[in-house]
């Protein structure tokens, strides 16, 4: 399928091809600067990794750039750096990516390099050990960041045994073998599980053949069966306090399990969340808790919706003495929302925001590729972008009321707080069950 016309000149023309080995290629012309962004997405991530091997998807997407049949890690690095390219790899909940941002004049070298990395990875034991050592060092450094630490703990607390909540720790990193990495790579990092998006100063017809030649020898393989773990939400308040005595500010995460990305109520949820806490100063949480009360520098809400599940989370921080007042105010805001719905004015402003900000999603090669890959990942309709604004427009105040009914729960939540626990522990005990952990034991 090729898209010829554009939505109000915003959406770039795309050319989409599926090769015999199952690889999908999407090409987009963007001629503002002599540069090209290439992003390859594999539909795998945390969700496919056994808990005792957490970190495996990251290792498998990172190690191909650390040695191929013909080049070692430093030779690859020098090649990338010599042409001024930016190479990245990343693994997330449902997807893993490799990307390359490059000047147009080096495009052919860039594509050849990606071909080498993807088709001929070595997974050298020496490089796996190097990755393990650096990952453990990064984890030790990250632990000093209260915001990162509390977010990881919260996800685990809410997702329980669902793989989305897992993250690498010392034992899981050590448990990853070279065979694990190689097997995982050859199971999931395959052309039939991959989409390549190329956005930039290119003429699509001129590079289709080149991509085909480079990647047609990439062998497909049958994907392992999907396994899904159902998680049940708590029916009351349950809190985990992590104590760290030297913090003069507590990091707070508040929320629960919610629906997944393919919910039919996606657009009402998008608008509802903007009004509640996703819209910066236009949201209720910022207006009440930052602007009026001065409790925090930042508070936001989000529905993080993945393929099989999702979480609703309110993220904020405040000085230890204010923690319980903050929790009460959050609950108060959720009650107000539950009892009164949003106003027509709020809904109108939220719709205006999403319609007006649509163009910004398609400004740069990186943002364009992210948008297109999002549609691929969650198998959204072909006309997702063409109908985006009308889908926003269609949402009624009753739709929002229904979404509140289904997804806003003022009387139950999982809460994780990292701070000086004894300042607020007694108060938190009045709310429900409290589990106390020491930062040093994490």
């Amino acid at each position: 399928m090729s898209r010829k016309k554009t939505v109000n000149k915003i959406l770039p023309a795309t050319k989409r091809i599926r090769f015999a080995n199952g690889l999908t290629l999407i090409l987009v012309e963007w001629h503002s600067l002599p540069m090209v962004h290439i992003k390859i997405m594999f539909k795998t991530g945390t969700i496919d990794v056994p808990p005792e091997k957490a970190g495996l998807a990251e290792a498998a997407v990172y190690l191909p750039s650390q040695g191929t049949d013909s080049k070692n890690a430093m030779e690859i690095a020098r090649e990338i750096d010599f042409i001024g390219a930016k190479f990245n790899s990343k693994s997330r909940e449902d997807a893993s990516h490799i990307s390359l941002t490059i000047l147009k004049k080096h495009l052919h070298k860039g594509l050849a390099l990606l071909n080498d990395v993807l088709l001929h990875p070595q997974f050298l034991t020496e490089e796996l050990e190097r990755w393990k050592k650096r990952t453990l060092s990064s984890l030790a450094q990250e632990k000093a960041d209260p915001s990162i630490t509390v977010s990881k703990k919260f996800k685990k607390f809410i997702f329980q045994s669902c793989p989305y909540g897992n993250y690498p720790i010392e034992t899981t990193v050590h448990a990853i073998s070279r065979t694990n990495v190689s097997d995982f790579y050859h199971s999931y990092y395959t052309p039939n599980n991959a989409t390549i998006v190329i956005v930039g100063d290119v003429i699509p017809d001129e590079i289709v053949d080149e991509v085909n030649t480079l990647f047609s020898k990439w062998k497909p393989s049958e994907l392992p069966p999907e396994s899904v773990v159902e998680v049940s939400p708590p029916d009351h308040f349950t809190t985990q306090l992590i104590n760290k005595d030297d913090l003069n500010q507590a990091q707070i995460r508040y929320g629960y399990i919610t629906t997944n990305r393919n919910t039919p109520e996606f657009f009402p949820i998008l608008l509802l969340n903007y009004i509640l806490g996703g819209g910066g100063f236009s949201s209720r949480l910022m207006a009440e808790i930052r602007s009026n009360k001065g409790y925090t520098y930042g508070i936001s809400s989000a529905f993080l919706l993945y393929k099989y599940s999702g979480i609703f989370v309110i993220s904020t921080f405040t000085k230890n003495e204010i923690v319980f007042s903050m929790i009460n105010e959050i609950r108060n805001q959720l009650h107000i929302l539950k009892n009164n719905n949003v106003t027509e004015e709020e809904l109108f402003a939220a719709k205006s925001y999403f319609k007006g900000s649509f163009a910004q999603k398609f400004e740069r090669p990186e943002t364009i590729s992210d948008q297109l890959l999002y549609v691929e990942l969650y198998q959204l309709p072909e006309d997702y972008f063409d109908t985006f604004k009308s889908n926003i427009e269609k949402v009624t105040i009753q739709d929002i009321k229904n979404a509140i009914e289904h997804f806003i729960h003022p009387d139950r939540a999982g809460i994780v707080i990292l701070g000086k626990s004894n300042t607020y522990m007694n108060d938190m005990n009045t709310l429900g069950t409290v589990e106390l952990k020491n930062y040093n034991d994490l």
Binding site: A140, Q249, S282, Y353, E363
Partner: protein, 420 residues
């Protein structure tokens, strides 16, 4: 090697009230950014009111004669735009990125808060608490933030780069409404600002809107100069920061010249040699070969009055910190005696050429480059000159610049020591 040439067709103008304008049409997407850069930042403060530039930036969102508290943000959001502001050592910048048809709204809103800001005790009190939370977030409870604060405080003893942009906590408590009013009157004037518009607009129309909203704003007396000079450093300075953590951090900062100094072109190439990409010297030595750090690299803070190149390492928990420090500083010092091979030098230049193009990919990015060059480096045209200047750097230039700046007399080392 042919360099990717980018011509920026910027129209430069000045209104009679001293307000400077830089306008650049870019019709790639139906988006425009409006930015107003005030030539004031933490360098213009004094002990007792440190952090006022940043606190005042917050106050600029709290309403004016015609606009309620945070209504500025809400109005921009309601058209699908984003807006924010940032305060640095030398500048305070406010910006909007909006659908092109709404440029006039951004122009009106910025002109309104430049002239008619409401400064009242209640909003100062709540915003003071918000900023204190921001300080707790980014500095008090963040080891890297704490270390950077210490680095500047120790590297600069007399000059106002000594104190943090967010300010000392006790000063945040002490700043009064009168301090804010005086600050507003002194620094928020058309003759102390530059407006940058980049994106999908027509210059002629934009100009008439700018004239309508900004043209008749009265200019003010020129703000006082920053006169304090930093005395010469006479030897290495060292400081430790103890925190409850598992792994150490090292920051090693060498004093470098002001942003406008041409040595900065050479330093940029040197910095790229040291830490741009996985084949760069610091990465290869500390992360790849010796496996002593999770992250390591370097960066130049090229500021109006002075600069600081700092190398850093997020050290492995089991590494010996003295050894890591030695290797980190050694990589910088090696540039004094090494003759950089031609291929390695070309690699660094190629990376800088590519980074330069990548930074221009959005209207916001373009405006930020123009603003930084105009206000901090002294002239927006330096954005265009940069690629060629960087290509002219020779191996000998690198050696000379390293000899001049990468020596221990100009070095300050801050180490975050875990106290577990």
């Amino acid at each position: 090697m042919n360099i990717s040439k980018i011509t920026l067709d910027v129209q430069e103008m000045k209104f009679n009230n001293g307000l400077k304008l830089l306008l650049l049409e870019d019709h790639n997407a139906p988006i425009v950014t409006f930015q107003i850069w005030y030539k004031v930042g933490s360098r213009n403060e004094r002990p007792g009111i440190t952090g006022i530039s940043h606190l005042f930036e917050h106050m600029m969102f709290k309403g004016s004669q015609k606009i309620g508290p945070e209504e500025h943000s809400r109005k921009i959001n309601a058209i699908g735009g984003r807006e924010n502001a940032f305060t640095l050592w030398d500048v305070t910048t406010y910006y909007e990125v909006i659908p092109s048809e709404h440029l006039e709204l951004a122009i009106f809103l910025e002109s309104e808060r430049l002239q008619n800001l409401n400064l009242v005790p209640q909003t100062l009190q709540s915003e003071r608490e918000v900023v204190k939370e921001e300080r707790r977030l980014r500095t008090d409870n963040d080891p890297v933030g704490l270390a950077l604060e210490q680095l500047f405080a120790m590297a600069f003893m007399a000059h106002s780069y000594h104190w943090p942009i967010v300010g000392w906590m006790s000063d945040l408590d002490a700043i009064t409404l009168n301090d804010c009013k005086e600050y507003y009157a002194t620094y928020y004037a058309p003759n102390n600002a530059t407006i940058i518009v980049v994106g999908d607009f027509k210059k002629k129309q934009a100009l008439s809107m700018l004239k309508k909203y900004f043209g008749s704003i009265k200019n003010e007396a020129i703000p006082p100069e920053v006169t304090t000079k930093e005395p010469g450093q006479k030897g290495i300075r060292r400081g430790d920061v103890k925190v409850i953590a598992e792994a150490p951090i090292i920051l090693a900062g060498f004093k470098t010249p002001p942003a406008a100094d041409k040595d900065n072109y050479v330093l940029k190439v040197a910095s790229s040699l040291l830490s741009n990409g996985e084949s760069s010297r610091i990465y290869k030595s500390l992360i790849y070969d010796k496996q002593l750090a999770a992250e390591a690299g370097g960066e130049i803070f090229a500021l109006k009055d002075y600069g600081l190149y700092f190398a850093y390492a997020l050290v492995n928990p089991d590494a010996y910190i003295d050894e890591v420090e030695k290797y980190l500083i050694n990589e910088c010092e090696r540039l004094k005696s090494d003759t950089i091979p031609e291929e390695e030098l070309q690699k660094a230049k190629n990376q800088l050429e590519a980074d330069y193009i990548f930074d221009l990919a959005s209207v916001y990015g373009k405006a930020i480059q123009l603003g930084t060059a105009e206000i901090i480096y002294g002239n927006w045209q330096k954005v265009q000159e940069m690629p060629e200047k960087l290509q002219q750097v020779t191996a000998n230039d690198i050696k000379k610049i390293a000899q001049k700046y990468f020596n221990k007399e100009l070095l300050t080392v801050i180490r975050v020591i875990p106290e577990n």
